[in-house]
């Protein structure tokens, strides 16, 4: 998914000759922020993975790679799921593992077809837990219309894992005439989101040890391939699709702005933020725009198709709460700017790592 695709060539660091301001030597060990989907994650990719095995396909910066294979265009993606706790309101690591990879494929416009699953189990975990996760994988795969075609299992010693980790990979076919990638964002494009944001992140936080709070919302984890197909039925000329998972809408839009060299202007009041999400973020000091989603997408659509695509989204179960939230602009390339409810503006920067509850 976005792990290998978080920075644009414009700001990429030449590993043979790189300089400050953000060297990895700041952190000679891996810190949690390296997995947060923000600037630290991007640096890890730029400074470690890209130099080691970078290539033009990897550099395409898409949620899933689009490969030319035997005359077809194959979308291919992989992701690991290490959520804690394993079960949370609205889903489990099993749902995420399927929907996450299905969605990464769908963000290339592909119809997902086959998945692989790899389980890393910690010694001592109850089999009933593994069974519950496995059943969730099966149910989610069926709901998404994909087949789990191959799998693997490994066990690590007690204390060397966190119960159950799941890695999935998936493939799907990209329809002819579809070319969806962050570089295609153009000034004038309308920015749409498919529904209320922040539900997954807040649902998981509400049951995380040390932070528990009561809230009646559930994760939004859901497969989006069907929604994407409905959008493509309006026009194959969707420019960009992204599922704003870790790092939230803020991280995804920054990645798109940087990859395409355009600016993004958002209208804060148009962004659908459920009250519970806003209030939970309020008392933790978090910004809903950086909170993870697992069943939402953000789309950059040419203005002439925007209304029709939005209508198609709203007619679909996964897009019922879709909204027009902003536009792509030629100004401030590489940056995301938010028009605030009061009429001012603020810069929505790429988050550094994971968001932390703050007191100040």
């Amino acid at each position: 998914m976005a792990d290998l695709a978080t920075e644009s060539p414009r700001t990429a660091v030449d590993p043979a000759n790189w300089t400050c301001p953000a060297p990895l030597r700041d952190q000679p060990v891996v810190v949690m922020g390296h997995g947060g989907g923000g600037a630290l994650s991007a640096e890890l990719v730029q400074q470690v993975f890209a130099p080691a095995y970078g290539n033009p396909t990897l550099a395409a910066l898409t949620d899933s790679a689009v490969l030319h294979l035997g005359g077809a265009r194959l979308a291919f993606s992989t992701d690991s799921y290490v959520v804690r706790p394993l079960f949370f309101p609205g889903g489990s690591v099993g749902d995420l593992a399927v929907n996450g990879t299905v969605n990464d494929l769908a963000m290339s416009g592909a119809r997902p077809a086959y998945l692989s699953t790899a389980f890393i189990l910690e010694e001592g975990v109850e089999l009933a837990v593994v069974e519950r996760v496995a059943r969730a994988v099966g149910a989610a795969a069926e709901a998404a219309g994909v087949t789990v075609a191959t799998g693997d299992t490994k066990v690590v010693e007690s204390g060397h894992g966190d119960g159950v980790y799941v890695t999935t990979a998936g493939v799907g076919l990209v329809p002819d005439g579809v070319d969806i990638r962050p570089q295609r964002a153009r000034p004038g494009d309308v920015v749409l989101v498919s529904g209320p944001i922040g539900l997954h992140g807040v649902a998981v936080m509400s049951v995380r040890e040390g932070l528990e709070f009561g809230v009646e919302i559930a994760s939004d984890t859901a497969p989006l391939a069907d929604l994407v197909a409905a959008m493509l039925a309006v026009t194959p000329d969707l420019h960009v699709l992204r599922d704003p998972t870790r790092g939230g809408l803020g991280a995804s839009l920054n990645e798109i702005a940087r990859a395409s060299g355009t600016g993004v202007r958002l209208v804060e009041r148009a962004i659908p933020v459920p009250d519970e999400v806003a209030n939970a973020c309020g008392f933790l000091g978090l910004d809903p725009l950086y909170v993870a989603n697992e069943g939402r997408l953000v789309a950059f659509v040419p203005p002439e198709h925007a209304e029709a695509v939005l209508a198609a989204m709203r007619a679909h179960q996964q897009g019922a709460g879709a909204a027009r939230v902003g536009e792509c602009v030629a100004d401030h390339p590489g940056m995301v700017v938010v028009a605030t409810g009061l009429g001012g503006t603020r810069v929505l920067d790429l988050p550094l790592g994971e968001q932390l509850p703050r007191i100040c």
Binding site: P196, S206, F213, G214, V215, E216, I217, R265, V267, E268, R269, A270, I271, P272, V273, P274, D275, E276, A278, N279, A280, G282, F283, G285, G321, A323, R324, V325, A339, G341, G343, R358, I359, C360
Partner: protein
């Protein structure tokens, strides 16, 4: 300093030591220490910081403040730019 947010006291556990209550932050519920507002009642609003209710919120003062703001510059009704207008048309009640 000091992210502190208003919430409504929905229940009080008088046996808890220190005194603890459940606070509702608009659909989000979390325990808070009420030791510094020992006579607080269920239904009152308090301001909460790092799990402590620090002060009760005074409804009358809040109303008076808003009323005062409403009386300022009564001639000037217009506010916001085109983006603001567009946003208002676009967004439902969910955005804030």
């Amino acid at each position: 300093m000091c992210l502190a947010v208003p919430g409504k006291v929905v229940s009080i556990d008088h046996r808890a030591d220190p005194l603890t209550g459940l606070i509702d932050f608009g659909g989000v519920r979390k325990q808070a220490c009420l030791e510094y507002l020992p006579d607080i009642q269920v239904g009152e609003y308090v301001i909460v910081h790092v799990g402590f209710a620090l002060q009760r919120l005074d409804e009358e003062s809040a109303r008076a403040s808003l009323e005062l703001f409403g009386q300022l510059g009564l001639l000037e009704e217009e506010f916001g730019d085109a983006w603001e207008q567009a946003a208002r048309q676009e967004s439902g009640s969910e955005a804030r």
